[in-house]
């Protein structure tokens, strides 16, 4: 925790040194991600709904995924760029410090400009909730919890994908494949996809459990309580799995060298 605080403060100081640039970066990187949603917005301006989901509900799905993603990228930039460490062999240095390597990799960098991403996600979420007529204090509490769970789920998926780099040294492409494309797939209601894709998004790269399932409960499309707690269920499986895999990777790394 001490380490976390020290790095947090140091990162914040160094990134806010040029305040103008910092604020521009936050706004512009938020805008860049928001442009993904703008496309959806333009499309839905021509149609009433998408497979039974109206614009407000889709906005909420998007917002939960994107909010979680933003939080993950704020704290997990190092994990996201893990291959830089294995490629350059700088991961070696982490093995000679008395702090767990997952923490150290996470602590490579805090990327404060992701605040822009989180900001636009929450903005879209609030407007979506109003539009879908779901806004209530109770809903927003659940909404916040869902964003946090989504961040944790994205973290564990990324930890698994990063651990691959222990064997392959490079993992950027797997990361793009599984993390970006699955994230984008999870922006939209799951029922537009073929069954095979539904299974992948539910059980293998379980991004749909972060937003789609709880939203179908909250928007009254299903009454199954399992839909609401889907993110918790998949966390119970994936969190331990990801740490276990990381441990194995670390062992492998220190027996082969970089």
């Amino acid at each position: 925790m001490e380490t976390f605080k020290a790095l947090f403060i140091a990162s914040l100081k160094s990134q806010t040194e040029y305040r103008f640039n910092f604020i521009m970066d936050i706004i512009l990187s938020g805008l860049a991600i928001f442009s993904d949603f703008m496309i959806t917005l333009v499309i839905l301006s021509n149609f009433k709904d998408m497979a039974g989901w109206n614009l407000g509900e889709i906005a909420l799905i998007y917002s939960i995924i994107e909010g979680g993603w933003g939080i993950f990228r704020l704290f997990g930039e190092g994990l996201h760029r893990f291959q830089e460490l294995t490629l350059s062999g700088r991961f070696d240095v982490m093995l000679i410090r008395p702090v767990s390597t997952v923490k150290q990799v996470m602590l490579q960098k805090f990327q404060f400009r992701r605040l822009g991403v989180i900001g636009q996600a929450v903005g879209v979420g609030i407007i979506g909730a109003l539009y879908a007529d779901m806004a209530s204090p109770g809903f927003f509490v659940v909404y916040c919890i869902l964003i946090v769970l989504s961040a944790m789920l994205i973290f564990s998926v990324n930890l698994i994908l990063s651990a691959i780099a222990f064997w392959t040294i490079r993992n950027e492409d797997i990361l793009v494949l599984a993390s970006y494309s699955m994230r984008t797939a999870a922006y939209y209601p799951l029922n537009i996809y073929a069954d095979f894709v539904k299974i992948v998004l539910t059980f293998i790269v379980p991004m749909a459990t972060a937003a789609y399932y709880p939203m179908s409960y909250l928007s009254g499309k299903t009454d199954s309580i399992f839909a609401l707690i889907a993110p918790i269920l998949s966390l119970i499986v994936f969190m331990p799995l990801s740490f276990w895999l990381w441990k194995q990777g670390e062992k492998h790394y220190s027996s082969t060298g970089s």
Binding site: E2, L7, S11, L95, K251, T256, G257
Partner: protein, 321 residues
């Protein structure tokens, strides 16, 4: 009592795959083969060997980064790769090319983060930092982001980073890369001071002069095998290289006569006519005064000097065999 560092039968074999036309081919590289040595507490050990000899591999194993294929080691009572977490608290290390600082952060903030990682108490941290910043002359780039530092500045910043938690043992893999003469002198002096204050230091470098000024004990490794272990002066004696005796002749008598040529042959010398310089080899069994007397009788000498064999010569000789 057992020694501070004990290494027994340490071996490391890397497996690499080479892509061939049809299938890939497995190849084993024996980077370290059956290495044994002991180091006492407080020693300053020089670890040398040609490129690819296995030095970095050894250091990686001794710092717990790499698990050996077989063999044992203990440092300060810990097995580095088995008790990594506990062991590293007391360990400082530098890997020549790899930075341990945070690329985007100013130097001073990197130290603050390290302080938190190693849980260094405030007071101790302040003292240690003041000491390091002053001794390594870090002040001028103390607030600059690491990515902007010059190679030499970064090296000094790294050195300080590896000492923030005041470790008992230091592993330095080529710490003087990129330093200019003055900074290098400063760093060497600083390392010696650390050693005198009781730190055990394990140093590899390609600069043999560094080794000569710092280390009493040295290890030489080649092709993964330890080929020498002992003090530097013993090494020189063992190598038995001759001292070189150089004389320059006066201008009026630069042509050699028969008698002079014979003397040259006796001492397996050679004559460089262009700058009128004769070089003779002087082995330990031979008496320099005797030879000098003969030379002054037979030659018109303008200049006269005896050269001790440098460590460079000694090591070159060993690497070749």
């Amino acid at each position: 009592m057992s020694d501070y560092i004990e290494v027994k039968k340490l071996c490391k074999t890397y497996t690499v795959y080479k892509r061939k036309k049809l299938r890939r081919e497995k190849r084993l590289i024996e980077a370290v083969k059956d290495v044994n040595f002991n180091v006492k507490r407080g020693e300053f050990l020089g670890y040398i060997g040609p490129n690819g000899a296995g030095k970095s591999t050894t250091i990686k194993m001794l710092t717990g980064i790499l698990t050996p294929t077989s063999g044992e080691a203990s440092v300060a009572g810990y097995c580095p790769w088995k008790h990594r977490k506990a062991y590293v608290r007391n360990l400082g290390a530098i890997f020549g090319q790899k930075t341990q600082l945070w690329w985007d952060l100013p130097v001073k903030d990197s130290y603050a983060v390290l302080k938190a990682m190693y849980k260094v108490p405030d007071g101790k941290f302040r003292n240690q930092l003041n000491y390091l910043v002053e001794r390594l002359e870090i002040t001028e780039f103390y607030s600059q982001p690491v990515r902007q530092l010059s190679l030499g500045q970064r090296m000094r910043a790294e050195l300080a980073a590896s000492l923030i938690h005041d470790p008992e043992i230091l592993f330095l893999d080529e710490p003087t890369i990129g330093l200019d003469v003055v900074s290098k002198h400063g760093v060497l002096k600083f390392l010696r001071e650390l050693n005198e204050n009781g730190k055990t230091i394990f140093l590899t470098t390609h600069d043999l002069n560094d080794i000569e000024t710092l280390c009493k004990e040295i290890l030489i490794i080649n092709h993964g095998k330890l080929i020498y272990k002992g003090t530097l002066s013993d090494l020189k004696k063992m190598a038995g290289l001759p001292r070189l005796l150089k004389i320059r002749l006066k201008e009026d008598s630069f042509r050699l006569n028969e008698e002079q040529k014979n003397i040259l042959d006796d001492y397996s010398g050679y004559y460089n006519e262009e700058n009128r310089e004769i070089t003779l080899k002087l082995f330990d069994s031979q008496n320099p005064a005797e030879l000098a007397k003969i030379l002054f009788q037979k030659f018109h000498i303008e200049d006269f000097k005896i050269q001790e064999p440098g460590i460079e010569e000694v090591v070159k000789d060993i690497y070749r065999n």
